[in-house]
């Protein structure tokens, strides 16, 4: 029971908006000490686990390419592309992306998009350009934040509620393995097919929210940016 102290440290640290790196280190020490590990033992375990999780940071290998493409004008080109579509709104643009993202991820092509390689260079600039077109003026800082944050949200939500439809994805394999370890045999398809209802619900719910975002932006049209 004492080992739950780490979770308490995380919750308190985030609530107090302390630096998350320091919160994580404190939680690791709290948890390890509560579980009877020595200080050096905790440091070594943390180091080993940091090292084995390096693959997470490999996403930054994209940055030289993305940065160079930005220098070559990919954001400008994305805005030019969407600027040619008169029917485009922020919500519709993100919704089209959302559906494409869901369909491709469900087919196993989940790496085609991502925050570094798609949201920053293409999707968010498109959203901003369309929003400025809608409003007929430059975006206020809070509006810019809202439009950009919704680009990242569309990426996350579409991915989370579609990748499990593909049978060879990590979580489906985890579920199958966990159930097998508990004496229940299911095929990956048995699991992945039940991700479909939630995927459909997600596109309806988030699609409705995106169209509401359009209405919210339109309502701000007459307001002069401060």
């Amino acid at each position: 029971m004492l080992s739950l102290v780490g979770i308490a440290i995380v919750a308190a640290g985030f609530a107090a908006r302390l630096n998350p790196l320091l919160v994580a280190v404190a939680a690791a020490f709290g948890t390890g000490l509560a579980a009877g590990m020595g200080v050096l033992e905790i440091v070594a375990a943390f180091g080993r686990l940091f090292n084995t999780n390096r693959y997470i940071c490999l996403v930054y290998l994209f940055l030289p390419l993305i940065g160079l493409l930005e220098r070559l004008g990919i954001q400008v080109q994305a805005q030019r592309l969407i600027g040619g579509l008169k029917a485009a709104t922020v919500g519709r643009t993100y919704l089209v992306f959302f559906v494409l993202r869901q369909v491709l991820a469900a087919l196993g092509a989940k790496d085609l998009s991502g925050h570094a390689q798609m949201v920053r260079p293409v999707l968010a600039p498109m959203g901003e350009a369309v929003a400025e077109e809608t409003l007929g003026r430059p975006l206020a800082p809070a509006e810019r934040t809202l439009v950009r944050a919704h680009a990242a949200a569309a990426e996350n939500i579409a991915l989370f509620f579609s990748e499990d439809i593909f049978v060879a994805i990590g979580s489906v394999i985890l579920i199958k393995g966990y159930l097998a370890a508990n004496g229940i045999e299911v095929s990956p398809l048995d699991v992945s097919v039940w991700a479909i209802p939630t995927a459909l619900v997600a596109v309806v719910i988030h699609g409705a929210r995106l169209l509401l975002l359009d209405r919210r932006l339109k309502a701000a049209k007459g307001v002069v940016a401060s």
Binding site: C57, L63, G73, L81, A152
Partner: protein, 318 residues
């Protein structure tokens, strides 16, 4: 055989170049702290497998101190001006998009057909890490093609990488640090303690409250631990298997599949899932690091309610 270490070496060299440039950034009053941070990260990627656990641990603590106490300052590498980028865009136009898709397409093709490539009877690329390795190779290929075709200096993409990575700053290592914390939780059997707690206090006799406890518990535990994969075995062995499946005859495949997706609702609402929520906010230069979470919370809560109803309706076919 090309293993994952090739990708780590590439990342290490990139971070070393970033460290060199940030350490000499005259506009940053704390340039030495920044240089040290990226140099230590470079060391981790280049030599992490040879340092030993304790040295790796000290390295992480040093990174956390540099990042956590604001000793890195802020880099001053500027983006090319808008007019210059507009001119470049006129020149290269839509060719920029296929380049963007080249790495993931190479990764996909490599994952599917890569195992057929062999060298002296052994696979050319380690099939266990195929996707990541092919992605790294794809990025190198796309980068080389772009640099050659557009006649950029070799250092230019590295300058741009520094510009972007310094936007993220210390948060760049947060996902990896939180994954390590998840490992410590697992070592200390935090999941067992939660499961004991759930079993002790959960004395519900009706099906629907139990379904709510399972989906809500998945989301809540994921919020706290940052990872639905860590929450899944805890909540499933605590509630789903003994009660929903064992007592009420539910379908384990339906309940676990939708239970996992309830955990994903939690992922959308927590700063602990830094790679999805915090790093993107930094990459998009948002003033509030929780802005992405804020945009996601209403959808996450509504989908969580829907998941609860879906289990209640679909999970008990008999």
């Amino acid at each position: 055989m090309i293993g994952i270490s090739v990708a780590y070496d590439l990342a290490g060299l990139m971070f070393a170049a970033i460290a060199w440039r940030s350490a000499r950034d005259a506009g940053n009053p704390r340039r030495l702290g920044a240089g040290l941070f990226w140099a230590l990260l470079a060391l981790s990627f280049l030599a992490g497998d040879y340092l030993g656990d304790l040295a790796n641990g000290i390295l992480v603590l040093a990174l956390a101190v540099l990042g956590g106490f604001g000793l890195m300052g802020r880099g001053t590498e500027a983006c090319a001006p808008r007019e210059a980028r507009e001119e470049q865009a006129r020149r290269w136009g839509y060719w920029l998009f296929p380049i963007l898709f080249l790495p993931p397409v190479i990764a996909l093709a490599g994952t599917i057909w890569g195992p057929a490539l062999t060298w002296n009877g052994r696979p050319l690329v380690d099939p266990k890490q195929g996707t990541l390795i092919w992605l790294a190779l794809g990025i190198v290929a796309a980068l080389a093609a772009t640099v050659l075709y557009t006649r950029q200096r070799l250092g230019t993409p590295l300058r741009d990488a520094r510009r972007l990575v310094e936007l993220v700053g210390w948060a760049a290592i947060l996902p990896q640090v939180l994954a390590a914390l998840g490992g410590i939780f697992a070592l200390a059997k935090v999941g067992d303690a939660v499961a004991a707690l759930v079993g002790q206090y959960l004395t519900l006799d009706h099906r629907f409250p139990l379904v709510c406890a399972y989906t809500g518990g998945m989301a809540l535990l994921t919020i706290l631990m940052g990872n639905a994969f860590a929450a899944f075995p805890v909540m499933t062995s605590g509630i789903a298997l003994p009660l929903l499946v064992g007592r009420f005859g539910g379908d384990p495949a339906v309940i676990s599949a939708i239970g996992m997706l309830s955990g994903f609702c939690g992922t959308l609402m927590t700063p602990m899932a830094a790679n999805f929520n915090i790093v993107p906010a930094a990459l998009l230069e948002l003033p509030d690091r929780n802005a992405v979470i804020r945009a996601q919370v209403p959808t996450a809560l509504l989908v969580l309610v829907a998941n609860t109803l879906l289990i209640q309706i679909l999970g008990f076919p008999k």
